[in-house]
């Protein structure tokens, strides 16, 4: 019994990590249709920011909380720079964007290696995040780890913040306007290039926040981004482009599926099965879980 519940929660926490790393993409890829393979390196930048901050602020708890906004800004600025210098030239060439940003990601990885060294580094988790909460005590206890709860909370907060920003703020309205009709937005007096940059700042900033969260569960290393980027893209693709609710549901669904399969088979087999399941799903619904139907030609 407690195993089932434990696995479900593990699945949810895998889902929360997936959601956090994919959330920024739901803006840059989902809304703006830019395939940014360097997104994983923005996550890495957020993680290294946490590491650097912890070196200067010795209290692990404070440094973690400070890291959240700082990492958001660091990755956000990197993203805005990337948009300004490269991606802007490539809006009509999505496939080239993919490969160009892959090149950027290679360079960022090597840069991280040159600055921080090839070995992985670590942050200390604050004491209030190293324990666990016992839900069911006794002989067969069911516990939930603090750091996982923190990540889940962070994911929920980030989704809420993004969703509210898109719905309620003038900036959000502008982003949606540009996404829905670039020309119309332009002639209505919206500076589309500024909106693009801001949206990219936000999306990349969310990657930075995800990076902070990842320091709580795994190592910080130059290649940490490569390992997760494809998973993140799959979440968006399966969820449906431009559909925040789709991404949320798919992230948790994939998380639970992964953890259930992991339990009944092995981690490797589970990973392969999940990927195969995704390919099969896209056969059934090529546009993802939620779709936006338009009569556009291509």
């Amino acid at each position: 019994m407690s195993v089932i519940l434990g696995q479900t929660f593990t699945g949810i926490s895998i889902g929360a990590v997936l959601l956090l790393i994919a959330l920024g993409l739901s803006l840059t890829f989902g809304q703006m249709n830019v395939i940014n393979m360097a997104h994983g390196e923005f996550i890495m930048a957020g993680a290294y920011t946490t590491y650097v901050l912890q070196k200067s602020i010795s209290d692990a708890g404070i440094s973690l909380l400070v890291a959240l906004p700082v990492a958001f800004c660091v990755s956000g600025v990197l993203g805005a720079l990337l948009e300004r210098l490269l991606i802007r030239r490539l809006y009509l060439r999505p496939l080239d964007t993919l490969l160009v940003t892959w090149g950027v990601s290679l360079m960022l990885q090597q840069l991280a290696r040159d600055i921080f060294g090839a070995p992985n580094v670590q942050t200390r988790a604050p004491d209030w995040l190293t324990g666990h909460i016992t839900l069911v005590g006794g002989d067969d206890p069911l516990t939930v780890a603090d750091n996982r709860l923190f990540i889940l909370g962070l994911a929920v907060a980030a989704v809420a913040a993004l969703s509210l920003t898109l719905r309620l703020t003038p900036l959000g309205r502008r982003i949606r306007a540009v996404v829905q009709n670039r020309d119309l937005a332009e002639v209505s007096g919206i500076s589309t290039s500024r909106v693009d940059r801001t949206a990219f700042f936000l999306g990349s900033g969310l990657a930075g926040v995800a990076g902070v969260a990842l320091t709580l569960v795994g190592p910080i290393g130059p290649t940490m981004g490569t390992n997760i980027i494809i998973d993140a893209f799959l979440v968006i693709v399966v969820g449906g482009i431009g559909q925040l609710k789709g991404s949320v549901m798919v992230a948790f669904a994939l998380g639970v599926l992964q953890s259930v399969l992991e339990y009944s088979t092995t981690v490797s087999v589970a990973k392969v099965l999940v990927l195969v399941a995704i390919v099969a799903f896209l056969q059934w619904r090529p546009q993802g879980l939620y779709t936006l139907r338009t009569r556009s030609l291509v």
Partner: protein, 282 residues
């Protein structure tokens, strides 16, 4: 050339928004039918439904064959061709290659895997008809806007379609070009069925054999140009949009020089998409 286009109770619904709402339409062979109507009336969606691009309910028969439910390329192979609002040709290929591809949907595997050695007769004839023989070896991307639209029509000719559905074929053309296009359409329609979506009233007056007016997804009026113009319901619908109708004809092309008009066009065509989007928001 037997059997015309026969549409019965056609409905197209986009996520709850009804774009085409029970259209009945008959176009006889040899007709040159114009479809007009204000923006959002469902003209293009109607053509999309006939050519299989959007899913629709009802019945569309051509030459007695039911078209609904078939895939786009199968509908095309049963002799139905269309053009798009913005001229869509293969820009990197030459004019000749464009026409050759259009002529070749039925080619065998073996023919496909070999080179084209000469110019197929229908292609040569079409080049002549659309007056592009001189530029046959230029990439289609280098053509002027009007020439591209002619090339599109030429592609329909070599495709040997029996029903041509043309979406604003003279948009962005000069007066002389319009005249030439109109004459071309008249010639073509002698052997085939032609349906034209157009906003340019002068063009319509000069060349339409019959007109259908669409409004809010339904057929509002049908008849000759004079009949339709005399219809009080048509006048009512167009009064509110009166200034827009004449201006629309000239400004929908991608290479429009007139900045002010472009704004109107952008906003107008954007209106359709925005409407769709607005619905999905709900």
């Amino acid at each position: 050339m037997s059997g015309g286009l026969e549409i019965r109770g056609l409905r197209v619904v986009f996520d709850g928004f009804t774009a085409v709402d029970g259209v009945d339409l008959d176009v006889r062979p040899g007709d040159l039918r114009f479809l007009i109507g204000p923006n959002g009336a469902g003209k293009t969606t109607l053509v999309d439904a006939v050519t299989g691009l959007v899913r629709a309910e009802g019945s569309v028969r051509f030459g007695g064959e039911e078209l609904l439910g078939r895939s786009v390329h199968r509908i095309a192979r049963s002799g139905i061709g269309r053009t798009f609002q913005t001229a869509t040709v293969f820009e990197e290929l030459t004019v000749l290659q464009n026409l050759d591809i259009a002529a070749g949907a039925g080619r065998s595997m073996w023919t496909m895997l070999r080179r084209r050695r000469d110019v197929p007769v229908p292609v040569a004839r079409a080049l002549e008809t659309i007056g592009l023989t001189d530029v046959a070896d230029s990439p289609a991307g280098t053509l002027a806007h009007g020439q591209k639209q002619w090339l599109e029509i030429g592609m329909l000719l070599v495709q040997d379609v029996r029903l041509l559905l043309l979406d604003e074929p003279v948009a962005g053309m000069s007066h002389d070009e319009r005249q030439a296009t109109g004459e071309l359409l008249e010639r073509i329609s002698e052997e085939r069925t032609v349906v034209v979506i157009e906003h340019d009233m002068d063009f319509l007056r000069s060349f339409a054999r019959s007109v259908s007016v669409l409004h809010a997804g339904r057929v509002l009026s049908e008849g000759t140009v004079t009949e339709v113009q005399a219809d009080p319901r048509v006048q009512e619908v167009y009064l509110g949009h009166a200034p827009e109708v004449p201006s629309r004809g000239a400004d929908d092309g991608p290479d429009d020089g007139d900045g002010g008009a472009a704004v109107g066009a952008g906003a107008a065509s954007a209106g359709d998409t925005a409407a769709d989007a607005a619905v999905q928001e709900a």
